[in-house]
């Protein structure tokens, strides 16, 4: 961390220092990052190979399952990166770095923004990789270049939203193990959604109900709409609305929790 931070420098410099640390940490710990990049691609490959016949179901919105499934990959990666954000902060708390940080004039907002910057950057890199893989394997992107820009904005907001949840868990528990314990819950959110089939084609009423009340379905459907249908105002409004609400709520709660943790440290 630069000496400027310790002397009570302006907020942007503090954020820059923390963001730099967060990014360097990501680069130095490929073992922590690579699984969250590779695993969504693996699931995409398995689902595409195994569920391609689902496009024969009457009413399926596209004849390319990769186009349909690709949207899920972005959300899965964003949710997995929740663990990365939480894990990094929990590690700082466990090894005492956080306590030392509290003794400096570092602002809480700089700490959070710094942690999330690395996460957003990772989200962008993942989005770029998944798009490249999607295009290489024949996926369509109906919304064109403008849609790709919208996709990157939405992925960033979703990364911040789920990253905020990771920060809350880390701040509340101060334990990397507890943050990892969230993994099954995240898996449930992902799988009980419209990830594999459109909601109107899910036959089981109870599953369709769960997918309908699961906000993750709308995040997936917003990204999917850019690929399958082009510009679908309703899907995008729902996706952006939920992503923004999630980001605002999780950051607000994380900030509140951070204040409590700083007083305790």
């Amino acid at each position: 961390m630069s000496s400027a931070v310790a002397t009570g420098s302006p907020l942007p410099i503090q954020v820059g220092a923390m963001a730099g640390r967060s990014i360097v940490r990501l680069i130095r710990q490929p073992a922590a990052v690579i699984p969250s990049v590779i695993f969504p691609l693996f699931l995409l490959a398995v689902n595409t190979g195994g569920l391609n016949t689902a496009t024969d179901i009457p009413g399926f919105p596209t004849d390319s399952y990769i186009t349909f499934a690709l949207g899920f990959t972005f959300i899965q990666a964003a949710i997995f990166s929740t663990m990365n954000a939480g894990q990094a902060l929990a590690q700082d708390i466990e090894n005492g770095f956080f306590s030392r940080l509290v003794l400096t004039p570092m602002r809480p907002s700089a700490l959070m923004a710094g942690q999330l910057t690395g996460l957003v950057l990772l989200g962008q890199m993942q989005a770029l990789l998944y798009l490249a893989v999607g295009f290489a394997t024949g996926a369509n992107f109906s919304a064109g270049i403008g849609g790709i820009l919208v996709l990157f904005v939405l992925v960033s907001i979703i990364s911040v939203g789920f990253g905020g949840i990771g920060l809350i868990m880390a701040l509340r528990t101060g334990s990397g193990e507890a943050v990892q314990g969230m993994f099954p819950l995240m898996f449930v959110l992902l799988f009980f959604s419209s990830m594999a089939l459109p909601r109107d084609l899910i036959e089981q009423d109870w599953f369709r109900f769960l997918a309908t009340i699961n906000p993750v379905s709308y995040l997936i459907e917003a990204i999917r709409s850019l690929m399958v249908t082009g510009w679908d105002g309703e899907a995008l409004a729902l996706g952006f609305g939920i992503a923004i609400a999630l980001a605002v709520a999780s950051i607000a709660i994380a900030a509140f929790t951070l204040r409590g943790r700083m007083l305790k440290s």
Binding site: G49, L51, N52, T53, I57, P184, F187, A196, I202
Partner: protein, 256 residues
Amino acid sequence: MNSPYLSSALGITWRYLHNLYTRPALFIPSLLFPLFFLAAFAGGLSAVGDTPGFGYYDFTAFQFSFILLQASSLAGVFAGFSIAGDFEQGMGRRMMLATRRRSAIVLGYGIGAAARLGVTWVVVTGVALLGGMQVAGSGVDLAGMYSLALLSNVAALLFSAGIALRFRSLQAGPLMQMPVFIMLFLAPVYVPQSLLTGWIEPVASVNPVTALLDATRSLMAGDPTGVLTAYAVAFGMIAVLAVWAMTGMRSAETAG
């Protein structure tokens, strides 16, 4: 097999099961995991069973067969976690001092993993039946099906034990879990092999798990096909992985 050998193995089994069932954080996730997959796959994807050429009598039963193998294999992997944890904390070294033939240690965990599996089977089968799963196979078919699941449990345990005994640390957990998870998902999970498309089709055709899964599904349907091949594959895997586990034990012995 002499009596001290068996009593050592059973002592380790008892300790393993005691630790498992007195710590809900250990056994509840391993019970919930297969139920979650059963609900997600059988509930969310049932429309896939209507696609042309699917040809299996009941989609829930189709998915149950996969979940049965998955739950059985993962129960073996979880026992591998316990071996790694015990060696990490020094308990493994004490076990090695207490047993003359160290294969009793792996056998003890193996019996424990199989005993644990019984509980998993009852819960997963019960939930599937409550969810409306139709069983077409006879009692003999079902015994064959559960036997195949048990063999997959033994194979996964031996694989995980080999890793656990070499690394003697819980940090090797992903090395035990991920390969098993990947092998399972590179089989025809969602649809029969004939409906797979793209790169996964040739991969699934050479994946040994495919033979186990196809036979399990055929036994469930009461139309046994490829069962002998599946048993041969399972025993072959066990033979190879037993060598892997025992050389792992030798590595642990060398490390002291």
